[in-house]
C-alpha cells in the first residue's frame, strides 16, 4: 500500500486550490447579485407607488363618482364601494365552502377521496383568473346553457362568484393545514369524554385553529381584492354608484386597468392613487397577519 506523499499532493494542488476558492467566492458573488436583482423591483414598485400615487390622493377620490371621460376631477367612490360589496359577497359564498373543504381534507381526507379532492383544489388554484371570468360569464352572464335559472346580464353577483372561485382553494388549503396542526391530544381528550367526532371538530378543533383559519381568510381576501381579470366580463364596470348586486358594479382593480389604458393624465394619476390604496391595504393585511401569526403563512397568489 503505497500512499502518495500528502504534502506533495497538496503542493501540487496549491494553484488548483486557489482556483477552487476563487470559483467559490465568484459564485457567492453571483448569488448576492441575484438577491439584489430579486429585491430591487419591489423597491422600485413601492417607490413609484408613493411618488406617483400620493399626489393623486384627495378627499374627492374617496367621495366623488367618476366624471364623464375627459372632464378632470371626480373620484372612484363607486369603485371603492363596489369592491367592498363584491369582496364581501365573495367571502360569504367562498368561506363556508372553503372551510368545509378544509375540514373534510383534514378530518376525513387521509384516503383516496381526500387526494381526489386535493387534486381538484390544486387545479382550481391554478386556473387563470381570466378563464374563471369567462366561465362565470358563460354560466351567468351569457347563460346559454341554461344550467342556472339566472340573470342573463352582467351583475355584481357574477363578479362575486368569480372572486369566490379564486378564494376557495387558497382558504381551503390553509384551513386544512391549520386543522392538522391542532394537537392530537386535544381531540383525544374530547373523544374520551364521549363526544362524537363531528362535535369534537366543531367545538374543539375548529375554535383552536380559528386564528390560523382567519389568517387564511385574510390572505385570500388580499388576493381577491386586487383581482381585475375575473371581473372584466362578469361584474363589468359601472360609471355610477350602485349597490344592486343584480346590476353591473365597479371595482378598484378594474378601474385601475381602464384608467391605465386610457388617454388622460388625470386618469393615470388616479390609477396610481388607487394602486397605492390597494397595495397599502394588502400590505397592511399581510403585515398584521404576519405580526399576529408569525411567518408560517405567507401571501401567495
Amino acid at each position: 500500500m503505497t500512499s502518495p506523499g500528502n504534502s506533495a499532493i497538496l503542493q501540487q494542488t496549491a494553484a488548483l486550490y486557489r482556483r477552487r476558492r476563487l470559483v467559490d467566492r465568484l459564485m457567492t458573488g453571483v448569488m448576492v447579485v441575484a438577491v439584489i436583482v430579486a429585491v430591487v423591483p419591489l423597491f422600485f414598485i413601492l417607490f413609484y407607488l408613493l411618488k406617483e400615487g400620493i399626489p393623486g390622493l384627495s378627499l374627492d377620490l374617496f367621495t366623488q363618482e367618476p366624471n364623464r371621460p375627459g372632464k378632470e376631477g371626480g373620484g372612484v367612490h363607486n369603485a371603492l364601494v363596489g369592491s367592498g360589496i363584491m369582496v364581501g359577497l365573495a367571502l360569504l359564498i367562498g368561506v363556508p365552502i372553503a372551510v368545509g373543504t378544509g375540514i373534510f381534507l383534514s378530518e376525513y381526507g387521509q384516503n383516496r377521496a381526500g387526494s381526489f379532492i386535493r387534486f381538484f383544489i390544486e387545479v382550481m388554484a391554478g386556473i387563470p383568473s381570466i378563464t374563471i371570468g369567462l366561465f362565470v360569464y358563460s354560466l351567468i352572464v351569457a347563460n346559454q346553457s341554461g344550467l342556472l335559472p339566472v340573470m342573463g346580464h352582467f351583475t355584481a353577483f357574477a363578479g362575486a362568484l368569480a372572486l369566490a372561485i379564486l378564494l376557495v382553494p387558497i382558504v381551503a388549503r390553509i384551513t386544512e393545514e391549520m386543522l392538522l396542526l391542532v394537537p392530537r391530544s386535544l381531540r383525544e381528550a374530547s373523544y374520551a369524554l364521549g363526544a362524537p367526532r363531528w362535535r369534537t371538530v366543531l367545538r374543539i378543533v375548529l375554535p383552536t385553529a380559528l386564528p390560523g383559519i382567519i389568517t387564511g381568510i385574510m390572505l385570500g381576501l388580499s388576493r381577491i381584492a386586487g383581482e381585475a381579470a375575473a371581473l372584466l366580463f362578469t361584474a363589468l364596470g359601472n360609471q355610477f354608484f350602485s349597490t344592486d348586486i343584480n346590476a353591473p358594479m365597479d371595482s378598484i382593480p378594474r378601474r385601475i386597468y381602464v384608467y391605465a389604458l386610457g388617454p388622460y393624465d388625470y386618469w393615470h394619476e388616479q390609477a396610481w392613487a388607487m394602486s397605492l390604496i390597494l397595495v397599502a391595504t394588502i400590505l397592511i393585511i399581510s403585515l398584521v397577519v404576519r405580526a399576529l401569526f408569525g411567518s408560517r403563512v405567507t401571501v401567495r397568489s
Partner: protein
C-alpha cells in the same frame, strides 16, 4: 339535514348508531363542500366547451398552430397567441428559476438568519402586489425605461443579431417577459427555498468533511438532490406565467403578428381574451372562449405534471435518505 338522516330506518334507537349518523352527516356536508372544487373544474370544462363549440367546429384542431387571426374574415388561428405565450412564459420560467435558485441558495446556504428572513419576506411580498398594479408600473415606469434607455443600448450593441434589431417601445415582448419574471419569482423562490432547505444536513456535512468549498458542496449535493423539487417549483411558476393576464395585456403591445425581435409588440392567449372579448360577438367570441378553454386544459395538464413530480420527489426521498 341532521334530522332527515336520523329518521333513516337504521336502528336509530341505538346511541352508537346515532353518533355515527351525526358523523356521517358532518362528513357528507364537508365532503360536498370539497366536491365544489371538482364541480367548478368540470363545470368550467363543460361551459367553456359548449360556448367554444361553434369555433371548434369552424376551425378544427389546426387552429392551434394556424397563425392567421382575423375576426373580420372569420379566421381564428390562435398560433400567434400560442407563440406569444410560449415565448413570454418560457423566458419568465428560465429567468425566474435561475434567479430563484441563486437567491434560495443564498438564503439557505450563505446568509445568517437575521438576513435571510427579511430578504425572503421582501421577495414574497412581490406576490402580494396585484397584477394590474404590475401592469401600471410596467407601462409608466419600466416601459419608459426600456424605450428611452435600455432598448437603444441593446439595439446599438447587439443590433447586428436579428432578434435584437427592433424598435424599443413602451410596450412589447421584452417588457412582458420582464414583468412576468418578476411576478412569478416569489412563487418559484418560495418553493425552491423550501426544497433546498430540505436537503439533509448529513449530505452537506458529508461533502464538507471531504474538504469541499461551499460552492462545490452546493454543486455536488444540494443541486442534484433538490433538482426535481426545483423543477416542481418552476412548473408552479409556469402555470402562473401562462395564465397571467392584465399585467401582460398592459405591457405586451397587443399585436396579431409573429414577433420577429424582442421588442416587437405581441399577444398572449390571456391578453387577447382580455383585450378583444368586450367587442367580440358570434364566432369571434366563441373563438376567444376556445382560447380560455385551451388555457384551462393547459392548467389541468401542468397540475398533473407537477403532481407527478412532487410524487416522485417525496417517493424518492423516502427511498433515498436514511434519516
Amino acid at each position: 339535514m341532521t334530522t332527515r338522516d336520523l329518521s333513516r330506518p337504521r336502528r336509530p334507537s341505538s346511541l352508537q348508531n346515532r353518533l355515527q349518523l351525526g358523523d356521517w352527516t358532518f362528513r357528507t356536508l364537508t365532503g360536498l363542500a370539497g366536491l365544489v372544487a371538482m364541480a367548478v373544474i368540470v363545470g368550467a370544462f363543460y361551459e367553456l366547451g359548449s360556448q367554444a363549440w361553434p369555433a371548434i367546429k369552424h376551425g378544427g384542431i389546426s387552429v392551434l398552430w394556424d397563425t392567421s387571426w382575423n375576426p373580420g374574415r372569420q379566421e381564428f388561428g390562435v398560433g400567434v397567441f400560442v407563440i406569444g405565450t410560449l415565448i413570454t412564459s418560457m423566458f419568465a420560467l428560465v429567468a425566474a428559476t435561475i434567479i430563484a435558485v441563486l437567491v434560495s441558495l443564498f438564503l439557505v446556504e450563505v446568509a445568517p438568519g437575521y438576513i435571510s428572513r427579511p430578504v425572503s419576506y421582501l421577495i414574497e411580498l412581490l406576490a402580494a402586489i396585484p397584477s394590474v398594479v404590475y401592469g401600471l408600473w410596467g407601462i409608466f415606469v419600466m416601459g419608459v425605461f426600456v424605450r428611452d434607455h435600455f432598448g437603444p443600448v441593446v439595439v446599438s450593441t447587439f443590433g447586428w443579431i436579428p432578434i435584437f434589431d427592433g424598435t424599443p417601445l413602451i410596450t412589447g415582448l421584452f417588457s412582458a417577459c420582464v414583468i412576468l419574471t418578476v411576478m412569478i419569482l416569489p412563487t418559484v423562490m418560495a418553493v425552491s427555498r423550501d426544497v433546498i432547505a430540505a436537503v439533509p444536513r448529513s449530505q452537506r456535512e458529508g461533502l464538507m468533511a471531504l474538504g469541499a468549498t461551499r460552492w462545490e458542496m452546493i454543486r455536488l449535493t444540494v443541486l442534484p438532490y433538490a433538482r426535481s423539487g426545483v423543477m416542481g417549483a418552476a412548473i408552479l411558476g409556469l402555470a402562473r406565467a401562462v395564465g397571467e393576464t392584465l399585467a401582460v395585456t398592459l405591457v405586451i403591445g397587443n399585436s396579431v403578428r409573429i414577433p420577429d425581435n424582442i421588442f416587437s409588440p405581441a399577444y398572449t392567449m390571456a391578453s387577447v381574451i382580455a383585450n378583444q372579448f368586450p367587442e367580440a360577438t358570434g364566432l369571434h367570441q366563441s373563438a376567444l372562449i376556445e382560447v380560455a378553454l385551451i388555457l384551462l386544459a393547459i392548467t389541468f395538464i401542468i397540475n398533473i405534471v407537477a403532481r407527478l413530480l412532487v410524487w416522485k420527489v417525496t417517493g424518492g426521498h423516502r427511498a433515498v435518505v436514511q434519516e
